[in-house]
Symmetry: none
Subunit: 235 residues, 2 copies
């Protein structure tokens, strides 16, 4: 039976939510702009504040608006991080940079070891290129952050593990857009860059020599170095 389609009983909060979402997506409500106070909005829409808060709450967890007690609710600034899964996870769980480094430690050390087994000529040449590129950048007075990333991605590709590659792509995409500021401190010091370059070379050497354990350790020391840097800096 049931030839009749059910009248889609959309919840009231759904409708409010849709309206607000539209306003934000269309740009009628611009980033940084303040929303109406909940009480006013409830009044002008003839619904309860409860419902309004429900709708806005969804926008908050979606990261489209932010609540500020005592101030109001504001449209969130368009944030490249928002599209990045890692960034979302980081902010949602308010993870620290150490959390990040620990996860990297797990992923990249094993990756380095695998790379030592599986890297082919193309992989090696990609690593080499990343290193010389980084040297050039530094010589030119720039920070070699992109070349740095390239090196690590080259290692990832050398594992031939599609899943690992995908994960690392997400990771470094975030490192770029997400914590660029934090990393600047690391790159500011020319001494650090030289050390990083040496560490990269050590990793590559181990990979070229088909020495998985060495590669593992070299990567470990590399990440440990970064971790120590931030630890020192905290004081």
């Amino acid at each position: 039976m049931n030839l009749l389609k059910p009248i889609q009983q959309q919840k009231i909060s759904d409708q409010v939510f849709e309206q607000l979402k539209e306003l934000i997506f269309r740009g009628t409500l611009k980033p940084g702009e303040k929303l109406m106070p909940e009480r006013v909005m409830a009044d002008s829409m003839n619904v309860s504040r409860t419902t309004i808060r429900n709708a806005i709450g969804r926008l908050v967890t979606m990261g489209l608006v932010v609540h500020k007690q005592g101030k109001g609710t504001f449209v969130a600034m368009p944030d490249p991080k928002r599209d990045n899964p890692f960034a979302l996870a980081m902010t949602a769980q308010n993870a620290s940079i150490y959390d990040l480094l620990e996860v990297r430690m797990g992923l990249e050390c094993v990756a380095a070891a695998l790379a030592a087994d599986r890297a082919d000529d193309a992989d090696i040449s990609a690593m080499t290129q990343s290193i010389t590129e980084m040297e050039k950048e530094v010589q030119a007075g720039r920070l070699g952050t992109e070349a740095d990333t390239s090196f690590h991605m080259a290692v990832a590709y050398a594992t031939k593990n599609q899943l690992h590659i995908q994960v690392m792509k997400n990771f470094y995409d975030y490192l770029f857009h997400g914590i660029r500021e934090s990393l600047h401190f690391l790159y500011e010091d020319a001494q650090n860059i030289q050390l990083i370059l040496d560490q990269h070379k050590a990793i590559m050497t181990a990979i070229v020599n088909r020495a998985p354990e060495k590669a593992y350790e070299a990567m470990q020391q590399h990440i440990e170095f970064v971790k120590e840097f931030f630890k020192q800096r905290e004081k």
Copy 2:
């Protein structure tokens, strides 16, 4: 000034949210399972239903639970079609079980070592419970896959690394779902299950004894065992 650290004024709804999320992540609340009615949950937590609804509302928009008016609130089934935070679903199709195990090797071994440093009583008891649960399941003639996952998530939680927890949750939700059939072969053999149980116990013992290296190795052997099983089976 500001020598005083800000008392992290976490909202009540935040705390409720965290508790519920943890129950779901750990697998204590299994997919499809019904949550307590809001009213009794509010009562047993000594907060208002308003706050409970706020917390649950977040879980809903995150897709972890679903509301059904008149019926209740239920833990959502992990849905591959759903947007997963790390966009790994597509990769999971092409990824081999070895790819998965390699990435796990990196993440979980380091995690085990960290857990040995940081696990508290609650973590230990969660691991114990997962192990006994798995034993009970096996005794009853069922496969203890869920308890197995719970154990690994317990280790993840013991790291206190929020990012790692998030990553592992997604791994188990989306990736292992794709190779569930394959895993059946592993669990079919009672002998294997016993070995897996022993390995879990070894991991936990190392963690209890605060022996990071041992924990690392125990986890390594555990994953290596699974890998070897599938390798043998290919022939």
